[in-house]
Symmetry: D2
Subunit: 350 residues, 4 copies
Amino acid sequence: MIVVIKRSATAEQAQEIIDKITAMGYGVNVSQGAERLIIGVLGVRSDKDMLAAQLGGFAAVDRVMPISKSYKLVSREGVTTDTVVRVGDSVEIGGGLVHVIAGPCTVEGRDMLVETAHWVKRCGATLLRGGAYKPSTSPYSFQGMGKEGLEILAQARAETGLPIVTEVLDPRDVPLVEQYADVLQIGARNMQNFTLLKELAKTRKPVMLKRGLSATVEEWLLAAEYIYSGGNHDVILCERGIRTFETATRNTLDLNAVPLVKSLTHLPVIVDPSHGTGKWDLVTPMARAGVAAGADGLMIEVHPHPEDALKDGFESLTFENFATLMEQVSSVARAVGKPVASDASIAIEA
Amino acid sequence: MIVVIKRSATAEQAQEIIDKITAMGYGVNVSQGAERLIIGVLGVRSDKDMLAAQLGGFAAVDRVMPISKSYKLVSREGVTTDTVVRVGDSVEIGGGLVHVIAGPCTVEGRDMLVETAHWVKRCGATLLRGGAYKPSTSPYSFQGMGKEGLEILAQARAETGLPIVTEVLDPRDVPLVEQYADVLQIGARNMQNFTLLKELAKTRKPVMLKRGLSATVEEWLLAAEYIYSGGNHDVILCERGIRTFETATRNTLDLNAVPLVKSLTHLPVIVDPSHGTGKWDLVTPMARAGVAAGADGLMIEVHPHPEDALKDGFESLTFENFATLMEQVSSVARAVGKPVASDASIAIEA
Amino acid sequence: MIVVIKRSATAEQAQEIIDKITAMGYGVNVSQGAERLIIGVLGVRSDKDMLAAQLGGFAAVDRVMPISKSYKLVSREGVTTDTVVRVGDSVEIGGGLVHVIAGPCTVEGRDMLVETAHWVKRCGATLLRGGAYKPSTSPYSFQGMGKEGLEILAQARAETGLPIVTEVLDPRDVPLVEQYADVLQIGARNMQNFTLLKELAKTRKPVMLKRGLSATVEEWLLAAEYIYSGGNHDVILCERGIRTFETATRNTLDLNAVPLVKSLTHLPVIVDPSHGTGKWDLVTPMARAGVAAGADGLMIEVHPHPEDALKDGFESLTFENFATLMEQVSSVARAVGKPVASDASIAIEA
Amino acid sequence: MIVVIKRSATAEQAQEIIDKITAMGYGVNVSQGAERLIIGVLGVRSDKDMLAAQLGGFAAVDRVMPISKSYKLVSREGVTTDTVVRVGDSVEIGGGLVHVIAGPCTVEGRDMLVETAHWVKRCGATLLRGGAYKPSTSPYSFQGMGKEGLEILAQARAETGLPIVTEVLDPRDVPLVEQYADVLQIGARNMQNFTLLKELAKTRKPVMLKRGLSATVEEWLLAAEYIYSGGNHDVILCERGIRTFETATRNTLDLNAVPLVKSLTHLPVIVDPSHGTGKWDLVTPMARAGVAAGADGLMIEVHPHPEDALKDGFESLTFENFATLMEQVSSVARAVGKPVASDASIAIEA
């Protein structure tokens, strides 16, 4: 941590600050530059955030600049081997293959879900998505089928063998959702719902943590650190677009974050081009781009009849369009040396 | 709702879309412009969002543009008189006076809180703030004193008579926090924590709803609609800065939102220049600006010793600086014809 | 400048970096923290930017963090007294009074401009604005009256005595516009048009520099530094709103920037709530807020008939609304101890 | 264009607005919804922007929403075949092959440029980049070698046969730069420098138009429309990252824009991952992603010794890293059916 002292500060003011730091048990490295005094704070302890806050209370402090990463356990500096998250018996996310999670935004009924599950499996998806509890911007919008939705998801799993990814919104729902889901999803709007993060840290199921709409990469990794440090090491990150000034797309898919995050953390990272664009005709090219950027998987909204969807019709792929996506993604995935999982298993079987 | 049809659409495709709309019971107004067909959807029903989603599933649809506000009850179009939120026996927020809520970011102990409460009351604050449950970006940061913090807040209220504003993070904590707090605060990161919103809709205590870091004004009012439509009409909005590209300040305080929101809703709006700037030396000028823009109140972080604060030392005012703030705000408040509450009561007593 | 070395760096890599720095003639302060090595670069020279760029080329460098401000002459650290910009014979911007610049977005003809000039003067404006050269997002929009517009502005000045503020877009137009204008305006889209900045550095007329739509405060001050270091010290900064995710207003007026910039630079700062909001009904409250935040002036669009304006009808005030604005701003300006200039002169005359 | 009337509007106010529209020669489609009146404006004329501005001046108007695209000639609705931009004798951008433009940020001298040109050609680049006139945020940074830099570029072209892409900043420099350059580049900060756009519309050389840091896709296409409608049809768009709240990367590369823009316009689109990330270790994955998203080319900063670069050392690739990039891009380009140009010519020769 570097503390920059104001040019106008007196020697007494500077000394008070140094005394504060040393009184808290940290070392100092004092450097008098041509224009101003700079104090390096030496030592690593968990109360460093608090010290930074307190230094901000001194009138003579211009700025406090952190040096070390505030996340530790999810950092590559802490763990050097890639985390591979096992889901169910057969899926390993982060293990060198691209996994595609596909399905409708929302579970709307048994038939549509099972039909979709069969189709996406046939096309090469290895996990099934579907929302039973839906966060809706408006109180008047559909809020999900709840427990009934979870049961339908379980039926689709039973029929297809695809593990289930589904969102949980409320810490009180975790025990129930955990019974059904193979991966518990934390939505973008809950990325900093810290009591929910702490609750998921206690489960034994993998967690998929979507990036918040206005979360920096550092905040995203700190949210992952909540889960990881709480005891659950099976965390999958999901880039799903951030909010910017551009309104021609629903969000701005930040693919820079994919290679960046893979250099900062050992956790796997997947990409959601459906929310990341909000337009079905952009989903396939951006799915290709996500895989080319190095993602460990994709999350894609597919609906048998987007024109009858209860949510997100604009961004849902038809069955036909999803088949095209899988073909194109498969080709790019091979080109970057990280094949789509279903292709790899075919290869192995063959 | 206006549906813009792609220029390349065939007459059959357009007719399918019209059929879809009328089949759902809506009227249509079809207008053939020079370049493209436009369909107005007539009628107001709660499933309009779903229709919009479904229309997005038609390949021939270019865009769907909403016309009506998606929030109803909190809109000025629904209720034309200003909502006045009564807190405790004496405070009325939105009733033509500026109320100042002041206190430390976090309850750190009995003495510091009671001392602060006495001081801010003496300077003219009419409510006391202090966090017992703290949302922290890092799992290693202080998470608040919890129930003990609530008890200390209650003691400070008993000694000073100031009603208490404190944050609740988890739906499971609502029954407890409700016993102590006079106003339940929803923090920026929880503005779209919909299960928490629904839980607060059931309490009988006023709710202060902070704007999310990347929430549009419309999303903020829809979050208020969750609480209002759920049965709790005592909602206070709080502008606390949004996240932008500018990093010289912690957030960008969006004062445009104050007059805008007051034109759109009948709910009172207050301003938090402490989080809105993140720098103690900007808090006073921006408090003045907030009141000049028409705010019904302010929320200000004050700490007896910012250099020992457990959080937010950079943005906390010392006692002396808070006294200055109150003097200056008082002067601006009179100039805009909405005096600070403590001045008004002095005037009445005198 | 602080150079943070990657944790994975070898001693040889670190030494290479130290050698690079010392070879360029800078001193170093090497600090071995618990987790990583940090190198402070000592000395202030104009090639520090280049050194930073080069250090970025070393694979072992994690980050380079500047400490000193990159602007020098416009910084309060360089010049400690406030700059007062004299315009014409009578106006002093930054001298402790609030100056209001008012007029139409665009010069549309002689009558409308002269009529507006008389009205705004009567209400208390002390400068007249009007565009002769207009930057238009679309090539099909009105591009301004050019030289004829300048002549009309000069006539309005002759009739009212109000100095003229008008925009220049092209370095080739500077000699002509300089003949007519009292203040040369650089628009938001040209804030980093460096050849235009250099050209204006050579004129003897004051320059009003609008903040770019996505310019940080630091970039804005560096743009001012171009003009100041080039020889023209009469620079007025103008906050006019930044681009954010919020689309309910045309821009987000960043009033935080007003007290922030006044603490960083000695140059005067004014606020443009017309562009900053894009909605005429928000202009007056935000003009009040701008003055309460500490601005040295305001820039307001006024049109005799906004419903016939060639541009910006949405944000132009009618004569009647401008009169109201001036009354309210006058009251707030007195409350913050920086009266509107026309009030002050009345007071002096009386 | 759709005009939404306020709910509070009287019939007289609505009629005034209708009269205004018809008086200007447009047709109207009036639709009385359940909650408010909506007026469709029928007809397409170049003064529609002005009408929109004027309608904003009516107090009873809530909003004006454009329907038609404001750009015409660059729209796919205007021209249905893809534009192929020919550069020099051999390069065709937008013709189904990926072209890679590579070279240093800045021309720093003859040797470094010629050396770089030979290397990038050998690796498969088909155009050479290098800045002779540099836009610099700080007046104290290197501003480029000017005419001497252009001459060096011409020498590198003579030795390698690679056409030259170089930036022009000032309308007064266009005649000179045009003599040397094969493609004239407009930088991000000049995207809305309208007088420069108009000047480039008159040249006979292709123009590469970088997207502005905070430019929407619509504004970008309108900037292209300035050049196209002014008579120069050889416009290449370049996505180079936008400014967002994320500071871990220099910009946020908006790859959504690639397939979006290709659906809206017939012009070719290339991607600049060097500026789009600002970090050399992210350039290669994002180059792969750009091609996977459908780009017609890439623009890459390469420097023989990034640790001695005068600018942008952080984002420049070494020769070795550029060779790796080309290999990987080549593989992805084949996978998406749009091979790198140098591969294609090898194939043809073979």
